[in-house]
């Protein structure tokens, strides 16, 4: 494949404990040479997830994803050809993943890198964990146009979907980028959610085992609790929208409320 989705970033008010949650529940591994003041990076051996302390002026939550491409110059050229108004920005060299940051036609932000440019967890040979990242979902206003962008520029492959499903699913052969259609009418019974990243997904061996592990984890360490979902009218409305994405069979959150979908291998 020309591109692979192998980087996810979350900004969080509690970055250290949130990283422990992903390590404990999903068995993700941290970098061999961590930089604890900047962020915690956890990995399933294919995708690295940066858990970044929320900085001033910023929001907390699922923040962006990153693509590793075979040829950065070619990727830049294709972006320009698709839409000359889209700009790329070179990043400071301190970043372990990103050489450039860019955005799609709806200003959803992603990082771009070439394999040889990556550092830390992104350049280490790592064993794959049992639980694996399966998808990154974003909710955006012009889903079809954005799906065209990722298909044409990064050669991600469109996956078949039901004819009444308004969303688009693109694959790099392993990870899926889900482009969900944002519609104000979906938010009648709840506060409108801002455009942008929506949830992450994991493949697990057994949903039942994941549920048992989550219960055991919360019993061992009450700070590592997932948020209760589906309570009250608004909670039901939020969960219903989350459940409308057909990639997940079990729905949970991390300790700060970032949506996590899980499905069995």
């Amino acid at each position: 494949m020309f591109a692979r989705l192998n980087h996810i970033a979350i900004c969080t008010d509690h970055y250290a404990i949130n990283a422990k949650f992903y390590e404990a529940l999903f068995g993700l591994k941290t970098a061999k040479n961590p930089r604890p003041a900047r962020a915690v990076v956890v990995s399933d051996g294919y995708v690295g997830m940066n858990i970044i302390p929320r900085r001033e002026g910023r929001t907390s939550g699922l923040d962006h994803f990153g693509l590793e491409v075979e040829d950065l110059a070619e990727a830049r050229s294709r972006i320009h050809k698709f839409d000359p108004s889209i700009k790329l920005l070179k990043r400071p060299p301190v970043r372990p993943f990103a050489a450039y940051s860019a955005h799609d036609p709806d200003t959803n932000i992603f990082d771009l890198s070439e394999k040889k440019m990556q550092k830390d967890i992104y350049s280490e040979e790592r064993e794959e964990t049992v639980c694996k990242f399966s998808h990154f979902a974003l909710r955006t206003r012009h889903a079809e146009r954005c799906a065209e962008f990722y298909t044409e520029v990064f050669e991600l492959n469109l996956i078949n979907k039901n004819s009444d499903d308004p969303n688009y699913y693109l694959s790099d052969g392993r990870m899926t980028l889900a482009i969900l259609q944002w519609d104000m009418d979906d938010y009648y019974g709840m506060d409108p959610q801002r455009l942008g990243p929506d949830h992450i997904g994991f493949k697990v061996e057994s949903i039942e085992a994941l549920k048992e592990n989550l219960e055991d984890l919360t019993g061992q360490n009450p700070l590592m609790r997932s948020r209760p979902l589906g309570f009250g009218d608004e909670g039901k409305a939020r969960l219903s929208l989350f459940q409308s994405v057909p990639l997940n069979s079990y729905h949970l959150t991390d300790i700060e409320g970032v949506y996590i979908g899980a499905s069995e291998e």
């Binding site: 910023r58 700009k87 801002r194």
Partner: protein, 268 residues
């Protein structure tokens, strides 16, 4: 004015605590009928700030603003067809402020209520006095099509465009008291730092005595470090962020609440 901005919302993992910060540092008042199961609300007497517990799936931080209008029907008529991509949806009746939620052509979300409507409750229907002489004066959004969005708020809500200083790329619209600043978003403005997604950027306050305000902010933060404002600057990247904020601020002093939401302070 046809519309006035009387509502802002922050989503926070520590919402009651943030309420204490705005009460103590800015002297804002709470509603006499606080709903302890829902958001914490503070007010300067003109504008209410809802500090909402972060719910599953939402991002934390400055979230949206709201307006009271003479006629929602007129808003719908003005929006209809004229602004591709803009829209609004009716909200459940339990909201203390919003009858409708809408969004501008770039998808920036706002709440809407009609003057005198039953949705206006709590601090939105009470006369709340502000003893500390700090008042909200600004809500700033960074968005890709700033000029188009400025036209939208000007034509649909009759907010008045203010004169800009030479070289100022931002658009400032006023309802007579509050300023809505629409600032252009481009990935290139984030050189040297992480990219911030388009959306709400910062809020502003007007204070009667800047020196007295700073002294009080310092005293409170030292007395109770949980109520200390976030420090801006320090590392190389945070200096770049601080400079970006300062270059788009209208006030002479910039600070941040304990969650990191940017606050621009101007001397009255």
């Amino acid at each position: 004015m046809f519309a006035h901005i009387n509502h802002m919302a922050i989503i926070s993992n520590q919402y009651p605590f943030l309420q204490k910060y705005y009460q103590s540092v800015f002297g804002l008042e709470t509603s006499g009928r606080n709903d302890f199961e829902s958001a914490s609300v503070v007010s300067d007497g003109n504008l209410g700030l809802n500090i909402i517990p972060r719910r599953d799936g939402y991002v934390g931080g400055l979230d949206h603003f709201g307006m009271v209008v003479d006629s929602i029907e007129a808003v719908e008529d003005r929006m209809s067809g004229a602004y591709e991509g803009a829209g609004c949806v009716k909200r459940p009746a339990i909201r203390p402020f919003a009858a409708y939620s809408g969004h501008d052509p770039d998808g920036n979300v706002f709440d809407l209520a009609e003057k005198g409507s039953k949705n206006l409750r709590d601090v939105y229907s009470e006369g709340v006095e502000n003893a500390a002489n700090c008042t909200f004066n600004r809500f700033a959004i960074r968005t890709p099509h700033a000029e188009r969005c400025a036209e939208f708020y000007s034509e649909v809500f009759e907010l008045q465009l203010s004169n800009r200083k030479e070289g100022d790329p931002n658009f400032h619209l006023t309802d007579g008291t509050m300023t809505l600043s629409i600032m252009p978003w481009s990935v290139s403005i984030f050189a040297g730092m992480s990219i911030k997604r388009p959306g709400p950027d910062h809020i502003g306050f007007k204070v009667k005595d800047m020196d007295a305000f700073k002294a009080e902010e310092k005293r409170i933060g030292e007395k109770n470090t949980f109520l200390a404002s976030r420090r801006l600057g320090g590392s190389e990247e945070s200096e770049v962020r601080r400079e970006l904020f300062a270059s788009n601020a209208l006030g002479s002093y910039q600070t941040a609440d304990p969650d990191g939401t940017w606050i621009d302070v101007v001397q009255a």
